[in-house]
C-alpha cells in the first residue's frame, strides 16, 4: 500500500504529490498543498464546508479520494480572487451583505454559489436556496447569504457571465 504520485491541477497550478490511497482530497489540499481555505466540518458529506469544484462541478472534497482527483482540475476558494485587491463578485457580495460570521462555512458556500451561477446565471431565491441545500451555516441563518448570492448574480449577469 505504497504512496502514489498524483498530479493535481489546483487553481490553474500543477502539483505533484505523493499520497496514500486512503487520503481525501480535502486532507491533501490542506495538509500537503497548504490550501487551508477548504474546511473539513462533518467529514461525511453533510455540511458542505469542504466543497470545491472538480472539473467545474461542486463536490465534497472530504468524500473524494485524492487519488481519484489525479489530473483533474480543482478550484478552491483560494482560486477565485484575481489578486489581493480584486475579489470575485461573490466574495465582494458576501462582504457587502455581512454574509460571513465565523466564516467556517463561507468557502464552501461561495463555491456552491459559483457552481450554481455557472449553470444558472439568473437564479430565483428558491433556486439559490436549493443550490445551497448541501451547505450548512450554524451562525447566521441563511438570509444574508442568499441575499449576497442574488446581488452577485445581478452584478455578474450583465457582463454575460455563465453559460
Amino acid at each position: 500500500m505504497a504512496k502514489e504520485i498524483i498530479e493535481l491541477i489546483v487553481n490553474g497550478d500543477r502539483y505533484e504529490v505523493a499520497v496514500e490511497p486512503w487520503r481525501t482530497l480535502a486532507e491533501v489540499l490542506r495538509e500537503d498543498l497548504n490550501l487551508t481555505g477548504t474546511k473539513i466540518g462533518c467529514n461525511q458529506g453533510d455540511c458542505g464546508a469542504c466543497t470545491v469544484l472538480m472539473e467545474g462541478r461542486s463536490v465534497s472534497s472530504c468524500l473524494t479520494l485524492a487519488a481519484e482527483a489525479h489530473q483533474r482540475e480543482i478550484v478552491t476558494i483560494e482560486g477565485l480572487a484575481q489578486g489581493p485587491e480584486d475579489l470575485h463578485p461573490l466574495q465582494e457580495a458576501f462582504v457587502e451583505h455581512g454574509a460571513v460570521q465565523c466564516g467556517y462555512c463561507t468557502p464552501g458556500m461561495i463555491l456552491s454559489a459559483k457552481h450554481l451561477l455557472d449553470h444558472n446565471p439568473t437564479p430565483s431565491e428558491q433556486e439559490i436556496r436549493q443550490g445551497l441545500s448541501g451547505n450548512l451555516c450554524r451562525c447566521t441563518g441563511y438570509s444574508k447569504i442568499v441575499e449576497a448570492i442574488g446581488a452577485a448574480a445581478a452584478k455578474m449577469a450583465p457582463a454575460g457571465e455563465g453559460e
Binding site: 486512503w22 481525501t24 462541478r57 463536490v59 465534497s60 468524500l63 479520494l65 481519484e68 457552481h115
Partner: protein, 296 residues
C-alpha cells in the same frame, strides 16, 4: 472521527482491466465511482476492503442514451446530476428525474451515480423506487460473462444484492414508456429534500383508450428491508378505472404491503400514514399524466 482504513486503490483505464481487477481481488474488493456512500462507510468501518477499484476512468461508461424502441440506458458511471438533467429522462421518466433532482445535496448528486445508489442497496434508495416502477433491469458484467437482472430481483436485504464481488454494473436499462402512461415519485423526509427518505412511493401507470388500467407498477421506499413492489395494490387497479375511491383503496393496499419500522427518521405509524397519502397522490398524478390532463 475514525480514520480511513488502509487499502490499495486501482484506477483502471478500460473495462477489461476493471473486470480483471475485481476478479483477481474478489475476496476483498469494493467498486467505487463517486465514493459518496463507500468513503463514509469505510471510514465508519461498515465497509471493509483491501482493494478499491474506481470506475471513473473507464471510457464510455457514463453514457446516457434513449431510443423510442429500446428505452433508456444509463451507464454504470453516469452521475445522478447528469441523469436529472438529461432531456430524455425529463421527458419520458419524470419519476426518475424527480428523484435524481431532489435526493441528497448538489455535491452528492454531482459525485454519486445511479448505479452506485442501487448497488448500495439502502431500503430508502431514492432512485430504486422509480426504477422499480419503470420495470428497469441491471446489466451485470464479469470477466467472460454478462447477465441481465430485473431490478426487483436485485435487492436481497439492507445493503445486500445478488451481485457477486467480481461483477460490475455496466448499465441500467429502462423500457420505453408506453402510450397513455404516466409516472410519479414522491418522498417525505424530516429536513426537506436533503435527508434520506423516511418514506417514498413511486408508480407508473398505463391506461387503455377507455381509461382502464392495463399496466401498473408501484414501488415503496424505506418501509421494508428492501424497496418493495406493492403487488396487492397493483392487482386491485388492473382493468379498473382509477377513480378517487379506488385510489384510496389501492393506497390502503400499499399500507398492507409496507413493513415499516420505528427509527430515527420516522415512526412506523407515521410511515404507514404517509404510504397511504403518497400512494394516492402519486397514482392520481400518474392517472392525470396518462390521460394527458397534466403537463409533465
Amino acid at each position: 472521527m475514525p480514520n480511513m482504513p488502509r487499502f490499495n486503490f486501482h484506477r483502471p483505464g478500460t473495462m477489461e482491466e476493471a473486470l480483471d481487477l475485481v476478479s483477481r481481488f474478489r475476496a476483498s474488493v469494493k467498486v467505487m465511482c463517486g465514493g459518496t456512500d463507500l468513503v463514509p462507510k469505510m471510514r465508519a468501518g461498515v465497509a471493509v476492503a483491501e482493494n478499491v477499484v474506481s470506475l471513473t476512468r473507464v471510457p464510455g461508461l457514463s453514457t446516457i442514451s434513449y431510443r423510442d424502441d429500446d428505452g433508456l440506458v444509463i451507464g454504470g458511471t453516469a452521475r445522478i446530476s447528469d441523469v436529472a438533467r438529461h432531456p430524455d429522462v425529463r421527458r419520458h421518466y419524470p419519476a426518475l428525474a424527480y428523484a435524481c433532482d431532489k435526493m441528497a445535496t448538489v455535491q452528492i448528486r454531482n459525485m454519486g451515480t445511479v448505479a452506485g445508489n442501487l448497488a448500495n442497496a439502502a431500503p430508502s434508495a431514492d432512485t430504486a423506487a422509480p426504477l422499480l416502477a419503470y420495470g428497469a433491469s441491471l446489466v451485470l458484467v464479469e470477466r467472460g460473462g454478462r447477465r441481465q437482472v430485473p431490478l426487483e430481483d436485485f435487492f436481497t436485504g439492507p445493503g445486500l444484492t445478488v451481485a457477486e464481488p467480481m461483477e460490475i454494473i455496466e448499465a441500467i436499462r429502462v423500457p420505453a414508456p408506453p402510450l397513455r402512461s404516466g409516472s410519479a415519485y414522491l418522498r417525505v423526509s424530516a429536513r426537506s429534500k436533503v435527508d434520506i427518505a423516511a418514506v417514498g412511493v413511486a408508480a407508473a401507470l398505463n391506461l387503455d383508450l377507455e381509461g382502464r388500467v392495463i399496466g401498473v407498477r408501484i414501488a415503496l421506499a424505506a418501509v421494508g428491508p428492501t424497496p418493495l413492489r406493492a403487488r396487492q395494490a397493483e392487482d386491485m387497479l388492473m382493468e379498473q378505472i382509477p377513480d378517487h375511491d379506488l385510489l384510496a383503496r389501492a393506497g390502503a393496499a400499499c399500507v398492507r404491503t409496507a413493513k415499516p419500522i420505528d427509527d430515527v427518521r420516522a415512526s412506523a405509524n407515521f410511515r404507514r400514514a404517509m404510504v397511504q397519502t403518497l400512494a394516492q397522490r402519486v397514482l392520481a398524478r400518474c392517472g392525470r399524466l396518462a390521460r394527458g390532463e397534466d403537463a409533465q
